[in-house]
Symmetry: C2
Subunit: 503 residues, 2 copies
Amino acid sequence: MTRESQLAELKQRLQEIDDLRRAGAVLGWDQATYMPPGGAQARGRQLALLSRLEHDRLTDPGVGRLLDSLAPWAEAQGADSDAAALVRVTRRDYERATRVPSAFVHRLSDHTATTYHVWQRARPDNDFAAVRPLLETTVELSREFAAFHPGYAHPFDALIDIAEDGMTVAAVRSLFAELRAGLVPLIEAIRARPLADDGCLTGDFPESAQQVFGEAVIRAFGYDYARGRQDKTAHPFMTKLGRGDVRITTRYCSDRLPEGLFATLHEAGHAIYEQGIDDALDGTPLFSGTTAGVHESQSRLWENLVGRSLPFWRHWYAPLRAAFPGALDGVDVETFYRAINKVMPSMIRTEADEVTYNLHVMLRFDLELALLDGTLAVADLPEAWRARIHSDLGVAPTDDRDGALQDVHWYGGIVGGAFQSYTLGNIMSAQFFAAAQRDLDDLDGQIGAGKFAPLRGWLTTRIYRHGRKFTASEIVQRVTGGPLSIAPYVAYLNTKYGALYGL
Amino acid sequence: MTRESQLAELKQRLQEIDDLRRAGAVLGWDQATYMPPGGAQARGRQLALLSRLEHDRLTDPGVGRLLDSLAPWAEAQGADSDAAALVRVTRRDYERATRVPSAFVHRLSDHTATTYHVWQRARPDNDFAAVRPLLETTVELSREFAAFHPGYAHPFDALIDIAEDGMTVAAVRSLFAELRAGLVPLIEAIRARPLADDGCLTGDFPESAQQVFGEAVIRAFGYDYARGRQDKTAHPFMTKLGRGDVRITTRYCSDRLPEGLFATLHEAGHAIYEQGIDDALDGTPLFSGTTAGVHESQSRLWENLVGRSLPFWRHWYAPLRAAFPGALDGVDVETFYRAINKVMPSMIRTEADEVTYNLHVMLRFDLELALLDGTLAVADLPEAWRARIHSDLGVAPTDDRDGALQDVHWYGGIVGGAFQSYTLGNIMSAQFFAAAQRDLDDLDGQIGAGKFAPLRGWLTTRIYRHGRKFTASEIVQRVTGGPLSIAPYVAYLNTKYGALYGL
């Protein structure tokens, strides 16, 4: 076999794997948006089949042989070449997939489906007891899963590494400790000041007008509706159904503005990233955003560093008022800006302000490591949650609905490896934005004039187009010239909230 | 291997084949409803992959061996048993699929995709020349396809047989000749009478009100929205995405009532059939409606024999007027009934009235056979169409848009085997309805009281629940006690239109 024919065969196999994954994404999107209740059972089986076919193809020994054979040639193209990245990233996916026996994959996926189903009722019912035995099994399975990937310094490094290539428990712990030291004094200082008034965000905000306004903003960001669309779901998400088809979903409250609006900007951030990947990578594992953290850096950048900034609203506040006649009468842009940036410790992570948000993540990260290493029993999780959120944020949930049952992650997958990415994303969002401010001429002025093309162009060139070619740390190094650092993020928060709260 | 394990293995294979087919249906539904333009290319590839995986699994020699091995036991269960039907119908699908080489399937599917793409522009552009060479290839491929199925009396019997198990060119020709002899005098007699006035069907009929009214009617028919949904598409269709998920689509004109309303009733008829199949057949080839003709008999029964009847409107006309305030002022129910049953020869099959509709089908059936046997060249098709529709219906299309380019069938698949089913459906709809009138107590009275449960229950017991267990001719025999016959259909048309036109 010539190298060309080997490469062609590898790409053909990868294309089929990708087509199966995206077909699954279509089924998943439909399940979340429009599927009637009666379709649930068959849909679960269809999704499991597509997932199994994809896994079978990825773990075929023929893939390993092609990768072995192509590796020397690919490396000779240079580490930054598409060929080297293709072989490197496919090898990573292949190794990860082959380490986990198919029987385990099925067991985990059946268990997860059951747990998710039970959690969907247990959360509104505030019934932790209903999920407790299931979550105990999930913890066991998560340990087993980690054990399929030996050779890490910490037994649960594998879980972090899968989400964040190269990240470790120790590195996250160290970053989080440093960040906590930066956040706590800021939170204390804000607490000593009067609460911001966000009354203007409650009122008459019809869904259809929210949809129209949100669409106008994210079109201006550069989200391309010819290659995407927006629908409503119970939980907002972004999904890629194929090249040229990257969709987002949103949830609206007709009497509250921020939830729907910022969810729209957030998911659009994820989608603009996916839409910006070089089409030349289509059909390969490179044709996705890289780590979960880098993905989150883009949703948070567009949602927060752009969408909750004063320059942004200097341009968009007039269109917003026009979109909701009467709702914001007598509210000036500064008042509105203070309202959407109100800092107040609360119980729900997804509704938390920028400053307290990361404490929610740290709580989850620490609790899940304690569950995994056995120092915390599942039965004690609700109480541990309450104690920790009280000590960290001074609030105490009266029920598990807003406590240990709050997030889907532990009930829709394994325990471990997911939450840290939200805070890593926040940290990177500020690092990337600071680099953009350095590289671009008057970025704040551009945003204040409603012009996003320079920022999006810069992000596309520096980050988006590469897909998975580079890991998070490689991207950070290339874009900022240095390693991951909390300094720009802490500086951003101190500057923004120092001004807002007169600190 | 025990018989039980063989049966279990067969069912497992069939379940996977069915899951792949339904996953493809999800992708197809999304493609027609919500997919953004950018998604088209990847979606085509995903659909082709799922279709190939399904075909590979169905034609696996292991399926043939299991069928061979299970046949004696299945037959011993009795011809009407689920087991016998399962082996019989799977054998039919297996034989048909294995006769066609994979390379031919790919070639045909690539050609069809290209042709469909070109036709989508050629039709609005009235550009038959653009599709002519492609259609010539389609005719060639259709002959090749038929030739993979030798042993029939007529070379194109295979094409009819695939749609209508057991039907032949000769049988269809004979039925159509007989039907034509019944229709022509009726059309002549109606032509001698004044045209009905259907002006009341044009006016202010907002889409949303059409949707609400249509939904109310088909819910009353028994279409179950917990196991289905309705969306808008350019061309209405019904599709089954899995057990408990049977969807329909509709197209509305906001200034015309009948198109959207009757398309809704028509597609609901197809869907009620699929929703009525016994869940015990799920995951097997039996879990679909049987032939295309029987399927059409149900769409036409609910659309025409119920939905265009006077008893139906005696109940629904008041709700209709309430749904469109002012639009039908001064129009009494008899006037409305005459309007929706106006007979007028026209150029568009899908908009034709019940009486002239079948002449459209006969025209297509005869022309496609002439294309296949070479007595008509593709280049001469537009002229042949014009000549025939003028001689049959006294109308002449001024362009090919409403002539040889009118229907998607020849441009989205092979030539031959599709059109006859529309008329077979009409014939059977009247046969089945007459049997229901015989079996049920005061069916017209029930319909006039807005009660459809007795009719739907009767159809479910007699037809729907069996899925593909019985062929069309077996169903007709079981339900009516005799063979397929045009007499009830001609009697229905003569009675209804005789009264309407005072003949």
